[in-house]
């Protein structure tokens, strides 16, 4: 089993992360107004640059692999497009920001470049999605709004490979597919399973999961013919438009907040359970196949609070044992470690908020990167799936 590559980036939550095209650089938002750029040095990531321009928390970052531009969206209702240009004085490459006025009156929540990197979509709390394209005549980014029929904050968006269709998951419990066709930028797209002849703001489909719940994340399959979304009712739904049915997988675990397709028939999703889950299936049906986090091989050494025990009648011995059992609910009577061990068995210690494809071979994603509220970046091998039922819980390897 290939172990995940784990990096402790920060002690604060990572709101969003994006790798550069060659994966040598990483842009993160550490719950702050600035973008931190890390570069790979050996096996670690070291911080190299800070991009400061936003006035409020940066909610989402996306890095376009081919044109090497970063787009950041923030709670200050703006987006910036960053381009690496040579500085006139020093000649070094610096990141130069260009403001994009999204014309929204609420925070921006999510941003993604389109496949051709000539447009980007910004989801916002203003019940609209801003589709931004560059107008060369005026040298500025123009934002057009997808408004109807969104009734609440849009939580996430995903582009279809044809650069025109956009899936959006929203807090009004619906996942929708829109046409974001911009006259000056796009050619008339070929008809797809989602429809043909689609002017801007056409709704090609509107889906919801049986028990309802905010749709946290949406994703098109690599071909674009299938849509997957995860909602707050702890379920994942896979939609085949015009096909058989919508497959809904209810889980007993906590809701998922991020998902990414790894091939035409498998999805990696993660969320409040702090471990990535794998789902596979086809038009015939979908099921959960397991997890990428084989928690047996997680942290085995119980480093820690042994050094904190100090002298004193009240801190050691029987007094401490019973006090801990009473006030803190920690039972050390059975002989397990008396140190307060709140560490989870999984690699991530808190909700995973972002899962993105890291390494792609052909049309399959072989590795996925995840970041979460615990400030950890982990890169997983997609094929290292451990079936959940086969896991023998709690064995410590010493």
């Amino acid at each position: 089993m290939a172990l995940p590559e784990v990096h402790n980036i920060a002690q604060v939550p990572i709101t969003s992360h994006a790798f550069s095209g060659d994966r040598s650089q990483l842009a993160v938002s550490l719950n702050s107004n600035d973008v931190q750029i890390y570069s790979r040095s050996g096996t670690d990531f070291v911080p190299t640059e800070t991009l400061s321009e936003h006035d409020k928390l940066i909610t989402s970052i996306d890095w376009a692999p081919n044109s090497n531009r970063i787009v950041t969206a923030s709670q200050d209702r703006n987006a910036y497009v960053w381009q690496e240009t040579p500085d006139p004085e020093t000649g070094k490459l610096v990141w130069k920001p260009t403001l994009v006025l999204l014309r929204i009156n609420r925070s921006a929540t999510y941003v993604r470049w389109s496949p051709n990197e000539d447009k980007f979509a910004v989801a916002s709390g203003a019940r609209a999605i801003s589709i931004c394209s560059f107008d060369a005549e005026n040298n500025w980014w123009v934002a057009k709004h997808l408004k109807k029929p969104i009734r609440s904050t849009v939580l996430s968006v995903d582009w279809h490979p044809n650069n025109v269709l956009l899936a959006a998951g929203s807090a009004d419990m619906k996942a929708r597919v829109f046409s974001a066709f911009i006259k000056e930028v796009d050619q008339r797209p070929a008809p797809t399973v989602w429809g043909s002849k689609l002017p801007f703001n056409t709704v090609c489909g509107e889906y919801t999961s049986p028990a309802g719940g905010w749709v946290h994340t949406v994703g098109f399959s690599p071909s674009g013919d299938v849509l997957a979304f995860a909602s707050h009712d702890s379920s994942v739904s896979i939609v085949y438009p015009g096909g058989p049915a919508i497959y809904n997988i209810r889980m007993t675990s906590l809701p998922l907040v991020t998902l990414t397709w790894t091939s035409e028939d498998s999805i990696v999703a993660a969320g409040h359970d702090c471990r990535p889950l794998v789902f596979t299936g086809s038009e015939a049906g979908w099921q959960e196949t397991g997890t990428l986090d084989d928690s047996k091989s997680g942290e085995t050494s119980r480093a820690g609070a042994a050094g904190a025990s100090s002298v004193g009648r009240l801190k050691a011995g029987a007094f401490a044992t019973f006090r801990d059992a009473d006030t803190r609910g920690q039972s050390s009577i059975s002989g397990s470690s008396p140190s307060a061990d709140t560490k989870l068995l999984t690699v991530h210690q808190n909700t995973i908020t972002n899962a993105r494809p890291y390494e792609i071979h052909g049309d399959q994603v072989t590795r996925v990167s995840t970041t979460g509220v615990d400030g950890i970046l982990a890169i997983w091998d997609v094929n290292a799936v451990t079936a959940l039922t086969a896991r023998v819980g709690g064995i410590q390897l010493r």
Binding site: L101, D135, N138, E184
Partner: protein, 138 residues
Amino acid sequence: MSQTVDIPQTIKDSLRKFRFARRNAGSAAIVIKINKQKLIMEEVEQFDNISIEELAEELPENSPRYVVLSHELKHNDGRTSFPLVLLNWAPTTSEIGMMTLHASALINFQNTADVSKVIEIRDGPEGLTKEIVNSKLA
């Protein structure tokens, strides 16, 4: 009177010619834009016998323009007249600098073109239809 944008003599001549051209049928339009670098007005193109919907397609969605329109208006008593009307085409997605320049030069342009009626179109192609123009002129 100080002006932000100059109107060259060629534009003034085009406007006069447009005004006095004999109209047989349909609506005609002349589209003028502001050149931001040189701060002068430039004629983009002229249309003869164009429908309002086609004109809406031709105009850029993200840039402001002045359109002097000679609109074929059919009165309910059977007469057909061709009033001159100035369309202030100013979509809200346009760049802010251009919008400000466009707004500041409007009064001057209106006086030069000698057109009394102005219709504001702020929301792009949806806001420019034959019904809207007719209702504003009636």
